[in-house]
């Protein structure tokens, strides 16, 4: 989309470094998942060992895999939807409204981010228990949404804030109502931000662990992340199993990320007004 392709030696160097920094750990995750438990420490720093798909065949044969995948999907989609429903309008309003409340609101959002998840466990457990939402998808979706909502608002807000007011004003002068200005003008213009935050929330809510194993009481309701945790238990850690589950767990949600990636476009104003 850029006007001219030119050589960028610095960017190239950065890319090489990044490939090393992220490629090697991923390679190691995959290699470890292909080892037998015995080879974990004998071949720690080498790529030479007899690979086995045992960890994957065990993982894929795990009867809990399908149900936990489905649970993770429900939780992730539910959480992402609820977060978006709340965060997109809030981010827009906090980017546009002209009142001191905005500053207070943003400060509260930052502070909410600071509450350690472990510290919310007990009070939220009480809350969900008293509303009979423990061990339900609705309860976990509510809890996860609360966790990610402040983050989503803070992240999306700059994408609305940077839209030149003049564009919206033009539509307002034209008689558009607040909601219409929001949907017809601001939302398309902030599309990249909303999309990225959506994919990010989808990824984190898919992988969320602590609330998942605390607010779900029956194992059939456990999300994928609990299955990964269970590779480490009383009498040892199944490293290949953990790595294999890690890879299997990320793949479906990663596909969604790729899909959203393709939707990102260059140019703030291009899509909206053409």
């Amino acid at each position: 989309m850029y006007p001219r392709k030119r050589r960028e030696p610095v960017a190239f160097a950065i890319r090489v470094v990044l490939y090393a920094l992220y490629g090697v750990p991923l390679l190691w995750i995959v290699l470890t998942s292909l080892k037998s438990s015995r080879d974990i420490f004998t071949s720690q720093a080498t790529v030479f060992f007899t690979p086995t798909l045992e960890a994957y065949s065990t993982a894929l044969a795990d009867p809990a895999l399908a149900s936990s995948m489905r649970q993770s999907a429900i939780i992730a989609v539910g959480t992402t939807s609820l977060v978006l429903f709340c965060a997109v309008p809030a981010a827009y309003a906090l980017a546009r409204a002209k009142t001191r409340l905005v500053v207070g609101g943003l400060a509260v959002l930052v502070l909410l981010q600071m509450i350690p998840q472990t510290a919310s466990l007990i009070p939220l457990y009480w809350l969900l228990n008293s509303t009979r939402l423990l061990d339900t998808n609705v309860g976990l979706i509510l809890a996860d949404s609360t966790l990610f909502l402040p983050w989503a608002i803070l992240l999306m807000r700059p994408f609305f804030a940077r839209i030149p007011i003049s564009i919206e004003e033009a539509s307002l002068l034209d008689g558009a109502r607040t909601l219409r200005a929001f949907f017809a003008v601001a939302l398309p213009l902030a599309r990249n931000g909303v999309l990225v935050v959506t994919s990010v929330i989808l990824l984190v809510s898919w992988g969320e662990f602590l609330y998942g194993v605390t607010f779900m009481l029956s194992p059939r309701n456990y999300p994928m992340s609990a299955l990964i945790a269970q590779q480490s238990g009383l009498y040892g850690i199944n490293w290949p199993g953990m790595m294999a589950f890690g890879v299997i767990a990320v793949i479906p949600v990663f596909i969604l990320y790729i899909a959203s990636y393709r939707l990102l476009r260059n140019g703030l104003t291009l899509g909206a007004v053409k």
């Binding site: 194993v213 029956s218 269970q230 238990g233 009383l234």
Partner: protein, 424 residues
């Protein structure tokens, strides 16, 4: 604040453990056990029993096998095994109790006992126990009491010993060490061969208290009379080992599993590790076995194991008790756990099984129970402080290995923080 039970009423002692061991060594033949004495209740309404545990995914399959006799007898009962990560189990149980809920059956570590009892998540089981037909198969050492009330019983015993690589020792023509200087001589040989002398656990936390206990009691320490000099001597020994290359300073990040993996990878002739490694040890190509740690007469190893009780909020307490009796408390159940995890059965009849007698490693561990076994948690530590004491001591054990301070300073700091916790 309410008055809390401060002093552990545990009666356990070496004598009690000796009883387990002597039974196990075959002095007493076990009779066949019969837990299905009473007919099943004539109730076939569907019932769900939940069991909270921290067995890994592999262990889950064993739990299913373990439960088979019970589910055969009660086809109407659906068992729900709920995995909870070990570091969260106690918190989760107490949180549930604070909301007036909880599982039917609990499998947990001894460090969670006090919190669970105090929060009302588990109730005294004296009535159950006194009416339990097979209670005399269990030695007193596996019965966990607070203020004289029984709050849990351990179905099996876990402990640590000195694992050794037989091939290495015979290649080098050295004998099995029985004292610390002899151990150091062999480790010196190992370093000359270009490897470490020993692997052990130093990750901060309760595991390290468990690993350190034999060594600092061997140097004269006890929780009843906590002397800084004994700790200083222990830490001096550790740092000497690290300085000479006997022990990698990296052990300060190793849990027991990682420590053993390094031993199995051939990085040292010795490992301080547990009976539950017997399965992993049988998979490697070199010959290995286990011996008592080369301790002084004061030294002892802690006898742990997971505890069982039913949950205070169970809606089917009778079924829950029956489940525990037919699984963890039964001889068959304990032998199944032995086969899968190498855990030493608490029942005398099960411990007399040829599964132990015919296995040199397991009978080696039973011998250690007899020679060096000490109750865990240590009875001198007030119940309310057990968890904090074990973490504190474990953290200093870790610091000593990482050489995060000199032995004298570390020992002085540790004792200063330990003393208030050991007071009533």
């Amino acid at each position: 604040m309410e008055s809390t039970p401060n002093r552990r009423g545990r009666l356990a002692g070496l004598a009690a453990w000796g009883a387990v061991a002597s039974l196990a060594l075959g002095a007493c033949a076990g009779g066949d056990t019969d837990v299905t004495a009473s007919p099943p209740p004539g109730n076939d309404e569907p019932v769900t029993l939940t069991v909270w545990h921290y067995y890994s995914a592999d262990g889950q399959a064993v739990l299913d096998d373990l439960a088979a006799p019970f589910t055969d007898r009660h086809p109407n009962v659906e068992l729900e095994f709920v995995f909870i990560p070990v570091e969260q189990l106690t918190t989760r149980v107490v949180t549930a109790a604070s909301a007036g809920t909880g599982p039917d059956v609990l499998l947990f570590g001894a460090s969670g006992l006090y919190d669970m009892a105090s929060s009302g998540a588990i109730l005294p089981m004296d009535d159950w126990w006194s009416g339990y037909a097979d209670q005399d198969q269990f030695s007193d050492g596996v019965i966990h009491r607070i203020d004289g009330d029984i709050y849990a019983v351990a179905a099996y015993v876990n402990l640590i010993g000195l694992w050794y690589n037989e091939d290495m020792l015979s290649d080098w023509g050295v004998d099995l060490p029985t004292t610390i200087p002899e151990l150091e001589a062999v480790m010196d040989r190992a370093v000359a061969e270009g490897i470490n002398g020993i692997t052990l656990t130093g990750v901060p936390g309760v595991e390290s208290q468990w690993q350190g206990f034999p060594w600092f009691t061997s140097h004269g320490f006890s929780y009843g009379d906590p002397q800084a000099t004994a700790m200083e001597d222990t830490f001096t020994m550790l740092q000497d080992w690290v300085a000479k290359g006997y022990l990698s300073a990296e052990a300060s990040t190793w849990d027991q599993h990682t420590s053993f993996q390094h031993f199995l990878a051939g990085s040292a002739p010795f490992s301080v590790n547990g009976n539950w490694q017997v399965g992993a040890a049988s998979e490697v190509e070199f010959a290995n076995s286990v011996a008592p740690l080369p301790l002084s007469a004061n030294g002892g190893v802690l006898l742990g194991g997971e505890l069982q009780n039913i949950g205070a909020f169970s809606e089917h307490p009778d079924l829950a008790r029956e489940f525990v009796e037919m699984t963890f408390f039964s001889a068959e159940g304990q032998l199944l756990l032995l086969e899968n995890f190498g855990t030493i059965p608490a029942r005398g009849d099960a411990a007399a099984s040829p599964l132990i007698g015919d296995n040199p490693i397991l009978s080696g561990f039973v011998a250690i129970v007899q020679q060096q076994g000490r109750p865990s948690p240590s009875p001198e530590v007030p119940s309310a402080s057990v968890n904090e004491v074990e973490n504190l001591v474990g953290n200093y054990w870790s610091r000593a290995i990482a050489r995060d301070g000199d032995p004298r300073g570390l020992a002085a700091d540790l004792i200063a923080q330990l003393l208030p916790l050991l007071e009533d």
